[in-house]
Each structure stands twice: as C-alpha cells, then as structure tokens.
Assembly symmetry: C2
Homo-oligomer: 197 residues x 2
C-alpha cells in the first residue's frame, strides 16, 4: 500500500501533515511517496496570483489562529512566519531530485520546521544546507544538482502532473487515484489505503 | 455554555453539521443558537458571484466526492442536488424569524434533508410548508410572516453581523467570539466550549 503526499514547503497546512505523515504511515505499514510541487503554479492556473489566505485577509487571519490551534492540539511547535508564502523553490527542487533517498523524509520535516517553527528563510541556500546537515546529510553538491536544468524540469513536470490529476491545493494525498485534500483528511486517506477494495 | 451555529441552507458542508449539531450539543449540555445568514452576500463581498465550488470546477468536483464520503462515514443519507447552490432565502427567513421556537432545530434539519437528501427545491413555498409539516408545525401564517419587510430586514441584519464578526464561509461556529469554520471543526468548537477559560 502506498500514499502519495503532494506538498509545497510554503503551504501552511502542509506543515502539520508533513510532520505527522511518516510516523502514521509506518504505524499502518503504508509506503509514502513524497511529491513536492509548486502550489503557486496551481493557483496561477486558477487565476490567483497570491495565496488565497492573503487575497482574503479575513480568511487568512482565521487560518493562522486555526493552524496555531491545530499545532497545539498535536503538540507541534509553531510560530507564524514573518513572510507568507515563503519561496520554497530551492528545497522543492532538492526534494524532487532526491525523492527516494532515505534522508528525504527528515529533510522535508527540517525544511517545514525551518519555515513554521524557526521562522527561517527557506529560499536561502545557507538555510537549506543547514536543513540538510540537521538530518546528517553533508554532500556539498546537492544544491548544485538541485539547481540544474534537469532538476528544474523535473519539478515543473511534477507540478503539471498535479494539475492534470486534479490537485487544487496542498497538502493533497493520493491513494491510487483517490484524492484527499487537507491536513484534516490525512487519517481518512490512510483509512482508505487500509480498506479492502 | 452556548454555541452559535451560522449556516446557509444552500451550503453543502452545512448539511452534515446541521444534522449532527443538536445531538452533539445536548450530549455535552451546550445550548445552540441557530443563526441563518446569506452566504451569497458574504461571497459577493469577497468579489465572488457564485459558489467557489462552481467557480473552481476541479475543487467543486472534489467537494462532492468528499461530502458523499463524509456523509457515508456519518451514516447520513446524501444525494447530490441537481441545482447548486439552491436559493435558500425563504427557509432562511423562516429560521431567522422563528429562531427560538422549539420546532426550529427539526425544521432546519428538514430543510437540509430536502436539499441534500431528497433533492427538493427549497425555494418553493410548497416544499417549505412540507418541511414545516414534517416537523409537526401546521401554522398557515408562517410563510407570510417570514416574507414581511421586518423578516427580510432581520435576515439582512444577521448577515451583516456575520460579516462584521469575521464569518467568511459556512458552516461557522462561534463560542463567545472564538470562530470555528467548517463541519470538520464542530467537535473542536464543542471542546472549546467545554474547556475552562
């Protein structure tokens, strides 16, 4: 059994989903396929040129209160980032390029923690190097490889795939072709994976 | 302790919230204040002139699948309405006008069932009379009273209040001035009402 996790490092509700996904899925013996994509490109396609939480300030204000409460209920540290949405292109390229590495889940969590716990600039190569070293990865060529034309192309392709498969927000989960949207649906997606079909 | 339930009879996720609210709140000894409002007016204020689930067809398609699954998980009957969003102005005026009647919760459920279980036209006076009689109310003057200038004004005022207090979607719950949005947050709102402050 497999669950695909489609996420963007800038996406606020992707944070609690990313932090709990691996433990939950290991508990249920479900494999995770980590699939970063560019949510901004999906929003552009929908005619929006900013996060809907910025376009609708009243909804945005609620989201930050709700997210703080969600994190508190999960005992997850949380601090509202000074910049939202942060540019997550560089770590998304790394995650896309190295999606099958054993250190990838820890790296994803480190980047989300940088953005939503430590209020760090995840567009900075220095911060992303720190995220890599926080999970024991000390290969100097990773950021260079992630910035290659091929890596850029691969992330664009993955974003196109998200659009084609009906992803309209993040986090999203696929079990087969069944889509589940939002941190609130992670448990339901896992249940779906476990149900006999 | 009290929970305010802000709902629109056309709103898809208001349906499961409305169907489970009274039993849940009675179980926890929490009073419910039933507060219909016009979600369309809130959307207009946000610059949208249709349901966001119609404006964004991909999101809308997902919503109907998700809602069907939510209802199935709750053992609630559900059939996708032929028309969405249906015009819920008449029953909203009734609910606003008779908010404190003992039959009001049953009426609210009857109207939601008409829309989302029986695929009936809730803008029709005939259907709304049926909804009233389904919960044992046989007063012929209710629809006349609900269509008076005063009733119309009261619903408009309630919608203005929703806007002023930061309601941006439905269903919404208030516990004091703490806002909770969405059927998914009903349990959290009730927990909030029960927590010592």
């Amino acid at each position: 059994m497999q669950i695909e996790f489609w996420f963007d490092f800038a996406s606020s509700y992707s944070y609690p989903a990313a932090m709990r996904l691996q433990a939950l899925s290991e508990h249920h013996h479900i494999d995770v396929r980590w699939r970063p994509f560019l949510l901004g490109a999906i929003f552009n396609h929908q005619g929006m040129h900013d996060s809907p939480f910025n376009i609708n300030a009243v909804k945005g204000e609620y989201m930050w209160k709700d997210l703080a409460r969600v994190c508190q209920d999960l005992c997850l540290p949380f601090a509202k980032p000074d910049v939202f949405p942060r540019n997550g292109l560089l770590p998304a390229r790394v995650a896309c390029c190295y999606a099958n590495e054993p250190w990838l889940p820890a790296f994803v969590r480190a980047v989300f923690a940088a953005n939503f716990e430590h209020n760090e600039d995840i567009s900075s190569p220095h911060i992303i190097e720190q995220c890599l070293s926080r999970c024991g990865v000390n290969k100097p060529d990773i950021l260079t490889a992630a910035s290659s034309a091929e890596s850029k192309h691969r992330l664009r392709q993955q974003t196109d795939e998200a659009l084609q498969r009906g992803v309209f927000g993040a986090p999203s989960f696929f079990v087969g072709e069944e889509l589940f949207w939002g941190n609130d649906r992670l448990e339901r997606a896992i249940q779906w994976a476990l149900e006999p079909k």
